[in-house]
Structures are given as structure tokens and as C-alpha cells.
């Protein structure tokens, strides 16, 4: 069954514990490679500003466009759980292919380190933890419990099917595996 994420945008304070926990768990140095990012949006004028945060991991899309974009077939989608993985050893590096996966992805999920010819890596749904029946580390790090993960139909049942939010647009083409409780600014003004 396809797995996915849930994000409660009304709860997110932008603390970025998810992003730091991800770097810690996967041992990724500080710098441009961020398997989990937190997108910041600020709108409006004083004294009525609006602020929102939106998480950005790999959404393990139902129709991942990164897979056909890759010239060497380094990216695969697993049968069963639908987790999208990259074989780092097969990837030829961003210099040789000009980051075709990143250019194809509407969510900038493919990540590259700062080194010359960096090979792509990205969120793997904490595969090692997943194998042990644990939630991804980002989920467990959230101090306000704004995140959840699990089989997508179960998340939809629990949290509904809303999929649009500030800082995120649902792509009908790629079908990201996520449900979102959006921060509704219209209600607040």
C-alpha cells in the first residue's frame, strides 16, 4: 500500500526540528543538501502580516516524473509501499546529466551535495526505520505533532483528502503522496 505523509500546517511553528533531525539521522553535513526542507512564506503589510511554513521532503509521488527523467535509470519506485529510491552508485552525478531529475521534479526533492559532480540523494522515507516498523525521524522529532506518516489511504481516512496549502501546489501529473491541513488565512482575516 502506498505510503505517504500528513502535514498540519496550522500547527507548524517553523522550528525546523524535522529538517535537523533528518540531517542527523542520515548524517548529512550542513550545506545545500537537505532531504527535508521547510519553506517559508511571508505576505501582507504591517500590521497584518501572514506567515506560513510548509515542509518539503520527497513526496514519493504515485507517478514520479524523476524516474523517466533520469538518463541512467538510477531512480525506482518500490512495489508495494511506493517509496521512491535512488541508487546513488548508478547516478552519474549532476555535472554529467545537468540535474535532470531535479529539473523534472515540481517539488525540488532531488538533492545534491556541494562537491563537484555530486550524485543525487533524497528522502528515502527513513527506509532503515521503516523496515523496523518505525516512523520517519522527521515525524517523531516534531515538538507540536504537526507531522504523521503511514499508508496513504489510512492518512486520508484519519485526516481527510485536502492537498493544497500555502507553499505547496498539488501536482495532478505526479500525484504526491501527502494530505495536508492547510492554514486558512481567509478564515483569519
Amino acid at each position: 500500500m502506498q505510503v505517504g505523509f500528513y502535514f498540519d500546517q496550522t500547527r507548524c511553528t517553523g522550528c525546523s526540528a524535522c529538517r535537523v533531525a533528518c540531517k542527523d539521522w542520515h548524517n548529512i553535513p550542513a550545506g545545500p543538501e537537505n532531504w527535508m526542507r521547510v519553506i517559508y512564506t511571508e505576505k501582507g503589510k504591517f500590521p497584518n502580516p501572514s506567515v506560513s511554513y510548509m515542509i518539503a521532503p520527497c513526496w514519493h509521488c504515485l507517478d514520479p516524473v524523476c524516474i523517466p527523467a533520469c538518463p541512467v535509470g538510477a531512480i525506482t519506485k518500490r512495489e508495494g509501499d511506493g517509496i521512491v529510491l535512488v541508487d546513488n552508485q548508478v547516478c552519474v552525478g549532476n555535472e554529467e546529466c545537468d540535474e535532470k531529475c531535479l529539473k523534472a521534479c515540481p517539488y525540488d526533492a532531488p538533492q545534491f551535495g556541494p562537491e563537484k559532480g555530486a550524485r543525487m540523494r533524497k528522502c528515502n522515507y527513513c527506509l532503515d526505520r521503516f523496515a523496523e516498523g518505525k516512523l520517519p525521524d522527521c515525524i517523531e522529532s516534531c515538538p507540536v505533532r504537526a507531522l504523521d506518516a503511514g499508508p496513504l489511504p489510512e492518512l486520508e481516512k484519519k485526516y481527510g483528502k485536502s492537498r493544497d496549502a500555502e507553499g505547496f501546489k498539488y501536482s495532478k501529473r505526479t500525484k504526491p503522496a501527502v494530505v495536508i491541513r492547510p492554514k486558512n488565512w481567509l478564515d483569519e482575516t
Binding site: 496550522t10 500547527r11 507548524c12 511553528t13 517553523g14 522550528c15 525546523s16 529538517r19 535537523v20 540531517k23 542527523d24 553535513p29 550542513a30 550545506g31 521547510v38 511571508e42 501582507g44 503589510k45 504591517f46 500590521p47 502580516p49 501572514s50 506567515v51 506560513s52 515538538p143 507540536v144 505533532r145 483569519e188
Partner: protein, 549 residues
């Protein structure tokens, strides 16, 4: 600026349960952005004026709880005389407060009515405004409003006064090795329980004045001429007011030793650095900030690396060399066991020390939510408040006895140095805030790059202030006053009230050869002063901002 472990989570739960949340702050901070239904921007240091005007409306429209005031408080009449202007000829009207605070009079009136007529209502006066030139007036005025509206001791209400968490697992109730008597203080005044900050500093130095004391000694009115300093578990140069003065003072000491893990801004000035163990190299008891309901045990994960010793081992070894007999008769584990078993708070809770140590956590099951001062409200005759009168003291005779014009016996809004009425305002027309950052604990963890990249160090400035100075987002700017100058990038944002800039405290002081602090430590700009009641003045500084070279 909400204080308390995971308060954010509880505020979110309150909002989800239908609570309406209003944030009053110069900044639209992340707490406000997440939970607030309304943001009321206010100029720093003026919350007391706004609350005084709220009290005026509540009095004028007879919205206060007279029975509560009669039963549980003293001195409301004297406060009312201040509010109505009978005392000083100035009625504390919303118009009066609007001129001071930048909050519209109509907003203050609406807020006063909402607060007084919504039951229960929690006024959460936290600690940013308290760390200012008249900090205690802010907390005392909030406490007075809580009493006027009868919200003290009620579920969903609040008692005001600074919010220091529930009394379970509180960090201030931690066991410690008995300190013994400091021979230097033996002939000093008895300061137990006194509110007189002047008396307290006869033999001790106020934390925000330690570097002034080093520079001026007895001639400056301090208790001694300080020749050496031995510092552990802190980074005072970075974390008290006026870092440039601190650097000067540390250079003048004859001898300065630190116990440190890192080459902190302060450690750079040390003659001797004793390598101290990290939390991974020793076992210890810890508590939540600021309170539980749980206790934690941190087990040693690795043996001390290299020559590292714990603070306590360093002290014990030195005691031996100084000929202090039997200074430390116990092992680390024996001490920790005693702390758990002999502490009247933990003893009934943690009955099996070894299990606690093994599991690393002991959760306290509370039969019902803790409500501060519920016992007092339920039965004031048998459970008086811990004050001389046994009541909430809106007027304090102990404070009146101090006869200190900057520490009045009823809460008042007072002008202070470096507020907007100070003549310095012409030259330095921006008020500086130094809030706590989300990505480190004060100056701790500053060097962790994972955390630094989450929130680049920048000065918040409203476009109204940035544009005339030719400052765009991400530009390098200088923020300066008579005490120092920092170089920092600008974050031009609508999230801060015009006339105010904000630099998160804790970034590491790093002066270049011209004396410009390239690390942009907020305290390069703050003042080494304390308020009438003894609060460190960290949020009352005037500055100017210009484009950096």
C-alpha cells in the same frame, strides 16, 4: 516568548479547543504566527502603560471583581489612585497609553473589555518585557489585572507574575551539594527575603555588573577589587550586558581561568582553560525547562576523552591541593543517589533510584491539572499567599519601605533611560530587542552548523525604517550605539513594528581589528544595568542602523 516546556504544544491544543489567542508583542513572532487570532504590535517597554489604561477602563466601567479584591488582595485602592490620576494628576487613559505604546486607544479599550468579560482568561505575561529597565512593573501590573478580573487560582485563568511553570520537576527545586558559607559574606547584611537590591549587592555583585565591578572595584562602590575570576558553565562576556566592556575587564584581570568544552568568546580571554567533560562523559540529573511533570537521568555514554574532567572533579582536585580535607567524600553516583533519595520532592516520587537511572526518565502522573494558587483561593484563611500580608499585594509595604523612586509600591509606568523620551533617541532612534533564538539555547549550540543554517543571524527591521536608510533585505548593515557596533545582515520584514529592530541573543562576540563585532552578539549593544527591582536590562537599548561598508 512563551515560557515553559512545550508550552507551544499546549497553546495549540488550547486554540484547537476554541480558545481565542491575542499576542501583544513588538514582533509577529512564530508563536503569534501559529496561534494568534490577533496581533497587537506594541513598542518595547510600554506594556505597563497599556495595561494601566486597561485597568482604567475596567475600573471606569465597573468590570472588576470587587469580591475577589476584598478577599484576596490588599492595596487596590492605592493602585486605583494612580490609575485615576488622583495620585499624580495624570489619568491613565487609553489616549495617554496610546501615545506611549503605539497601540490605538480604541484597541486598548476593546482589549480591556474583552479581557475583563471573558471568563476564564489567561494573561500570560512572559519574560521578554520583564528583562527591561522597568521589568518588574510589567509583571506586577499584569498580576494586578489578573487579580482585578478574579482569574487567579482558576482553571484557564492565570496569576501573572512571569509564568515559571508548574511546581513539579521545577529546575529551581533541584538538589545540590550544600554550598557552605562564603567567608567573604559573613559580615555582610542579612539579605534573606529582602527586596532591597541595594542591600543585596553590598557583598555580592549583580550578575549584569560583574565586568563593571572588575573595572572599578572598591572605588566604584563594589565590595572588593577583583583580581581573578574562575568561570564555569557560562559565557558571561557574551551573555551579560555590554560585551565590549566585558572584554576590556577580562583583559585587566590578573588571572582568568575557565572550565570549557569550546573556545567560546569568553574562553579566548582566559589564561588557563581546563577541559571539562561534556554531558556524554558524565552522569547527571536533569529537569525540564522550567518544570515537569517528569524527571530525567542522563547516563554517561563514554569515558572522559583526553584530559577532560567534570567540573566537580576539577573542584575536588583543587580542594585537595589547597588542603581542604574531605571536600568530596562521595562518588558521582553516590551524590546522584542522595540527590534523588533525600530531596523531599523526588523522594516520594522516585522510590527506585536504579530503575530511574536505567530508564532515564520518571514521569509524574498528576491526578488533575496544576492550577497555581488554587489552595489560596479555595481557603485563604488556612492557606495564605506567601507574602507578608498573606494576600496578593497590589500595594507592597516592603517595597514602599525601600523608598526608591524607580521601584514604586504599586505598579506604574515609568520613563527610563534609553526609552523613546530619552534625549539619546535623537541620535539613536531605534529600540533594540534581543529575544531568544529558536535554533540554540542562548550562546550554547551556536557552533552547530545544522542549527545555524536553519535561521541565518540577521537583524529584523521594518521596511519603513529600512527604506530611508537604503537598506534592502540581506544587505550587510551596521547596528550601533555608544557601547559598540555589530555587523549583520538585514532581514527586512513586516513582522516587526516600525521604530524597533531585533537581534536574537546568543550569537558569538567576534570583534575585528576596528572593534566591529563581526559575530553580531546582541550584547555588544545592550547595557550592563539592572532595574529598580534587579532585572537585567536586556531589552531597553537605543541603536542606529546604517548600511555596512
Amino acid at each position: 516568548m512563551i515560557s515553559g516546556t512545550n508550552t507551544m504544544y499546549h497553546l495549540i491544543k488550547a486554540k484547537e479547543n476554541g480558545a481565542r489567542i491575542i499576542a501583544i508583542d513588538p514582533r509577529y513572532h512564530d508563536t503569534a504566527a501559529t496561534v494568534a487570532d490577533e496581533w497587537i504590535p506594541i513598542l518595547p517597554g510600554t506594556d505597563t502603560a497599556m495595561m494601566a489604561a486597561m485597568a482604567n477602563i475596567i475600573i471606569r466601567e465597573n468590570l472588576y471583581d470587587q469580591a475577589f479584591l476584598d478577599n484576596y488582595t490588599i492595596g487596590f485602592d492605592k493602585f486605583r489612585e494612580y490609575i485615576t490620576g488622583r495620585e499624580d494628576g495624570v489619568e491613565k487613559t487609553p489616549a495617554w497609553a496610546a501615545e506611549i505604546s503605539g497601540v490605538d486607544a480604541s484597541t486598548i479599550e476593546r482589549l480591556a473589555r474583552d479581557y475583563a468579560t471573558t471568563r476564564p482568561a489567561a494573561l500570560m505575561d512572559c519574560q521578554g518585557p520583564a528583562r527591561s529597565a522597568m521589568g518588574e512593573q510589567y509583571n506586577r501590573c499584569a498580576m494586578t489585572l489578573c487579580a482585578m478580573t478574579g482569574n487567579v487560582g482558576r482553571r484557564g485563568g492565570s496569576a501573572g507574575g512571569g509564568l515559571m511553570g508548574i511546581p513539579v520537576g521545577h529546575m529551581f527545586r533541584m538538589s545540590a551539594i550544600p554550598p557552605g558559607k562564603n567567608p567573604f559574606e559573613l559580615d555582610g547584611p542579612n539579605v534573606k527575603g529582602t527586596l532591597d537590591i541595594g542591600l543585596r549587592v553590598v557583598k555580592r555583585v549583580h550578575i549584569n555588573k560583574i565586568f563593571d565591578a572588575i573595572l572599578k572595584g572598591k572605588e566604584g562602590g563594589y565590595p572588593s577589587d577583583i583580581k581573578m575570576m574562575w568561570s564555569m558553565c557560562n559565557n558571561y562576556l557574551n551573555q551579560t550586558g555590554n560585551s565590549n566592556k566585558a572584554a576590556k575587564a577580562l583583559k585587566e584581570l590578573e588571572f582568568f581561568a575557565v572550565n570549557e568544552l569550546f573556545m567560546t568568546p569568553q574562553a579566548k580571554y582566559a589564561d588557563l582553560i581546563l577541559p571539562v567533560t561534556s554531558a556524554a562523559e558524565r552522569s547527571d540529573l536533569t529537569r525540564p525547562w522550567p518544570s515537569g511533570p517528569y524527571y530525567t537521568f542522563v547516563n554517561r555514554a563514554i569515558e572522559p576523552l583526553g584530559e577532560c574532567k567534570s567540573d566537580f572533579d576539577i573542584i575536588s582536585d583543587l580542594a585537595e591541593r589547597l588542603g581542604v580535607k574531605d571536600f568530596n567524600p562521595y562518588s558521582e553516583d553516590e551524590w546522584l543517589r542522595m540527590f534523588v533519595e533525600k530531596n523531599p520532592e523526588t523522594a516520594p516520587q522516585i522510590t527506585d533510584y536504579d530503575k530511574f537511572k536505567r530508564e532515564g526518565i520518571h514521569r509524574v502522573k498528576l491526578p488533575e491539572p496544576v492550577v497555581a494558587f488554587r489552595e489560596q483561593i479555595d481557603d485563604i484563611e488556612n492557606n495564605p499567599f506567601p507574602t507578608p500580608s498573606g494576600r496578593i499585594e497590589i500595594f507592597s509595604q516592603r517595597v514602599a519601605d525601600l523608598n526608591n523612586p524607580v521601584c514604586p509600591p504599586v505598579p506604574k509606568y515609568l520613563n527610563t533611560p534609553e526609552d523613546r523620551k530619552d534625549p539619546l533617541f535623537e541620535q539613536y532612534p531605534l529600540q533594540l530587542l534581543t529575544p531568544h533564538p529558536k535554533n540554540r539555547v542562548h550562546s550554547e549550540l551556536y557552533k552547530v552548523e545544522w542549527l545555524r543554517e536553519v535561521e541565518p543571524h540577521r537583524v529584523w527591521i521594518n521596511p519603513v525604517d529600512a527604506e530611508p536608510r537604503g537598506i534592502r533585505d540581506e544587505d550587510e548593515v551596521h547596528v550601533f550605539n555608544t557601547r559598540g557596533k555589530v555587523a549583520i545582515k538585514a532581514r527586512v520584514t513586516e513582522r516587526i513594528i516600525p521604530g524597533v529592530v531585533s537581534i536574537f541573543e546568543g550569537a558569538w562576540y567576534d570583534p575585528d581589528h576596528k572593534g566591529i563585532d563581526r559575530g553580531a552578539c546582541a550584547n555588544t549593544l545592550t547595557k550592563d544595568a539592572y532595574s529598580g527591582g534587579g532585572a537585567a536590562v536586556m531589552n531597553t537599548s537605543l541603536v542606529q542602523v546604517e548600511r555596512g561598508a
